[in-house]
């Protein structure tokens, strides 16, 4: 069982954060979480001044599946069709560190005690990093909901935050009711439909072109950034082995002891720094791209819904013409056409607002992360350099 507590300075560690004004009527955070084998239990803490809630300050325990349930109910709510629904946080994935830990256990006999301990420490740090990331991404999801004028008032959201029993019953019911129909439709058909519909609005035309193209590019960038980070981590691990062997040689070898021990220490520090560079890069770059890739998918989903509404409207026009021709059920057809038009207009209006604020949000997040990444890289390189200089001096003076 592993548990972590979030402490201050959280903002520095995350790639995406939500601007929270402390005067907001609804403040949510995940102060800690428990990891029990495969299940992560998040503690959701809410502080609110809203009357709709029973208490001003309370906490509940939730699992990842509860988040999925909440997200799905939002997606399936008609009223939210014109909004970008915050992407569901990905499932906690400890596969990678767990596999590595397993491999490490198998290879224990081939390493010195020191090497094994260091490798184990690195893996534990990786495990912890995965854990922290998953907590953050779940927290962001809730915070985006709480800071949105429409979502913050959602009934299911309130249940999620407040209901002091577990939500498994509700989850089961929801699955039976909706069957994930809408979700599947979106996944399989959106590209085709979005590109196929004739667009009258310049704004949406541009957005469509941009988002479709950008999604592909950011997906690729995410994958490449991931690979880069992994190589970097491998490199850092090599220094652990080098350092351990140098220590052994130094111990056997009186004449060159000081220099070998010095180098061994340098390798330890280089390893730590390279590992730090790798994880910072991951957080500021890879995680950023990953998050916005999902967010862009959510934006695309909005475009899809609007495209469907447009298609419905066009169909209703055709039906109205047909009815007028036949002079049958004209009133009904007119009403239906009006509804479709209203829905489409509503989606367009709200969609435009959402997409505009989305772009602004994205640019701000990119800026923040790129600055922070550059600053961290500089910091690490300077540390590395002073460390190396010290060692060179020590070796030359011997």
């Amino acid at each position: 069982m592993t548990s972590i507590s979030q402490d201050g300075d959280r903002d520095k560690l995350r790639s995406v954060s939500v601007d929270l004004n402390n005067d907001t009527p609804l403040l949510i955070d995940i102060p800690d979480a428990l990891c029990e084998r495969d299940k992560v239990k998040f503690t959701i803490h809410t502080k609110t001044t809203l009357n709709s809630f029973q208490k001003p300050d309370f906490s509940v325990s939730r699992q990842h599946e509860d988040f999925i349930w909440l997200h799905d109910t939002l997606v399936e709510t008609e009223d939210y069709a014109g909004l970008i629904i915050p992407p569901v946080p990905p499932k906690p994935d400890f596969e990678s560190p767990r596999e590595k830990m397993h491999k490490l256990g198998e290879g224990e006999a081939t390493m010195t005690k020191e090497e094994y301990t260091k490798m184990k420490q690195e893996l534990e740090a990786e495990y912890l990093a995965v854990f922290k990331k998953t907590v953050q991404v779940h927290e962001i999801f809730l915070q985006r909901l709480s800071s949105h004028p429409a979502f913050s008032k959602d009934r299911n959201f309130q249940i999620f935050l407040e209901y002091d029993q577990d939500l498994s019953v509700r989850r089961k019911n929801a699955k039976e009711m909706f069957g994930g129909f809408f979700k599947n439709m979106v996944k399989s058909a959106d590209e085709v439909l979005i590109s196929g519909v004739k667009e009258v609005d310049e704004f949406f035309e541009q957005e469509k072109t941009f988002l479709l193209d950008y999604f592909g590019k950011i997906k690729d960038a995410t994958a490449k950034a991931e690979k880069m980070t992994r190589s970097h981590k491998n490199l850092a691990d090599d220094y652990i082995h080098i350092s351990a062997t140098l220590t052994t040689i130094a111990a056997d070898d009186n004449e060159a002891f000081k220099s070998k021990a010095c180098i061994s220490n340098v390798c330890v520090c280089v390893q730590k720094l390279e590992a730090r560079v790798a994880s910072d890069q991951e957080l500021k770059l890879t995680e950023l791209f990953r998050y916005y890739m999902r967010d862009i998918q959510a934006a695309k989903d909005l475009l899809y819904r609007r495209a469907r509404a447009l298609a419905d409207y066009e169909n209703s026009n055709k039906a109205l013409d047909k009815a007028r021709l036949k002079s049958k059920d004209v009133g009904q057809a007119e009403e239906h056409q009006q509804q479709c038009l209203q829905k489409f207009d509503k989606l367009s209006e709200s969609g435009k607002k959402e997409l505009t604020s989305f772009k602004a949000r994205r640019v701000v997040a990119f800026r923040k992360n790129l600055i922070e990444m550059a600053e961290l890289e500089i910091k690490h390189a300077k540390s590395n350099m002073s460390l190396l200089h010290a060692c060179i001096e020590q070796l030359q003076s011997n």
Binding site: Y214, A221, Y239, T245, I249
Partner: protein, 461 residues
């Protein structure tokens, strides 16, 4: 028999006069060196011929050929050497440079005597280097000299996995070989006895080398066979050597341990090189992807920043490549050289045991001859008796020779090991410092690139 097998007959004349002068003069000093820890700055050190290489010259550090990518100043060492020679006054220090092979023919090999300023430039094939080594090994290994091993014929390192843009390209392979040959030759001329060896001199100075008798046998494998034969002989020894000298036992154990650790270290460094090359490839790939993303981005300032990010990552890729180059040529190759050198050291220890065994065998045979003679004294066969007496004289001589040879090889090994240890410490220290400096250089560049990028990121509005 192939020419790489050792000269088994250890008669006093077979190795030429030079070697003996070397040994007899400096007995006491050699032992002193071998057992005491003499610091490089110690005032007692006189630059005598049989002494190790002068403390300041470090000709075994690899001079890396400048590629268009690497900065020349990083790896250039000729400045250091010239300064130090003047301080010392040694007359036999040589600077060796092996240059890129031309399309036809072989490696350009230039030797510059740092004192006399005599310079020779010749062209040699790879097999010529192997031939030189096999001659030297067959002449000197069995008397206890640590003959520097020739470079490997094969391309692949100890770990089979190679990843990289220039995967086993011929340019990379040629450079690796050229560098290895330079280090090999430099180590060879650093050895005070080998430097004066006629085969070495001929190699360095003659325009044309005599055709080797059997070129196929001139390989590392041939020498390996010789070393293995010695090891086999040791294993087959019926009487275990009664080591009266703890020094040898200690040293042998030490080299065993060092061998294991260096191999391990070498493997880790090869892994480091491999991962760094991978990182370079992945960084370049990411740079392209970031550039595409920048192009696709419709917010102008962010688009620019992303394009700049792509450029930074491209530059960082270059850095990784240069660093991998340093990882390899400074660190990894040095370790590989020393793994092979230690094999040569272990080889001479085995030769010593073989020599001892031969001496013991001679003693046994002498004993038997004496017993036979005693028996013949009562047999009244005067001519047979005379023959027996002659054989006894013959074997007495052989026993004496055997003892002398054993003492000689023991003395040589002590001297050689002392020299080797000092050289090792020096080599590693210099190379490690160079390597650390390469790391410093990388960090400096990283700071430069990111500091240039920072305002671009801040300019996103």
């Amino acid at each position: 028999p192939p020419s790489c097998l050792p000269a088994e007959d250890i008669s006093t004349n077979s190795n030429g006069p030079k070697q003996e002068i070397l040994l007899d003069d400096d007995q006491e000093d050699l032992f002193a060196e071998a057992t005491e820890e003499v610091s490089l700055d110690s005032p007692e050190r006189e630059p005598i011929l049989s002494d190790g290489p002068s403390p300041a010259i470090t000709p075994v550090t690899p001079t890396v050929i400048i590629t268009p990518r690497a900065e020349a100043s990083m790896f250039d060492r000729s400045l250091d050497e010239d300064e130090d020679t003047e301080e010392n006054g040694d007359t036999f220090d040589m600077q060796i440079t092996v240059s890129d092979p031309e399309k036809v023919g072989g490696f350009g090999c230039t030797s510059l005597n740092l004192f006399s300023r005599n310079e020779f430039s010749v062209k040699r094939r790879f097999s010529d280097f192997l031939g030189l080594h096999s001659k030297l090994a067959s002449k000197y290994m069995h008397i206890g000299y640590i003959v520097p091993p020739a470079p490997e014929k094969s391309i692949v390192g100890m770990t089979k996995v190679k990843v990289g843009k220039e995967d086993l390209s011929s340019a990379e392979f040629v450079e690796k070989r050229r560098s290895a040959l330079q280090r090999y030759l430099t180590r060879t001329v650093t050895h005070p006895a080998l430097l004066k060896d006629p085969d070495v001199i001929q190699f360095l100075e003659n325009t044309e080398l005599p055709r080797a008798v059997s070129t196929q046998a001139l390989s590392g494998a041939g020498i390996l066979r010789m070393v293995n034969k010695a090891a086999e002989a040791v294993n087959k020894m019926t009487i275990k050597m009664n080591e009266s000298d703890a020094w040898f036992e200690e040293k042998q154990q030490q080299f065993e341990n060092l061998d294991i650790q260096l191999r391990k270290l070498h493997a880790s460094v090869e892994s480091l090189v491999c991962h760094r090359k991978e990182l370079s490839v992945n960084t370049a790939s990411f740079a392209k992807s970031a550039a595409m993303l920048g192009n696709s981005e419709d917010h102008t300032a962010l688009s620019r920043a992303l394009s700049q990010l792509a450029e930074v990552e491209e530059k960082i890729d270059q850095l990784h490549q240069e660093q991998a180059y340093a990882d390899f040529y400074l660190f990894s190759e040095l370790l590989g050289d020393y793994v092979r050198l230690i094999a040569a050291v272990k080889g001479v220890f085995d030769q010593r045991m073989k020599t001892w065994s031969k001496w013991q065998d001679a003693q046994l045979l002498l004993q038997r001859k004496r017993e036979a003679e005693t028996k013949l004294q009562y047999a009244n066969k005067p001519d047979k008796l005379q023959q027996a007496k002659d054989e006894i004289k013959e074997w007495e001589t052989k026993v004496q020779q055997g003892e002398r040879d054993f003492e000689q090889i023991s003395k040589n090994i002590r001297q050689e090991v002392g020299r080797f240890e000092k050289q090792r410490v020096k080599d590693f220290k210099v190379v490690i410092i160079k390597y650390l400096e390469s790391l410093v250089h990388t960090q400096q560049q990283l700071i430069k690139y990111w500091e240039a990028f920072l305002p671009e990121a801040k300019a996103i509005a």
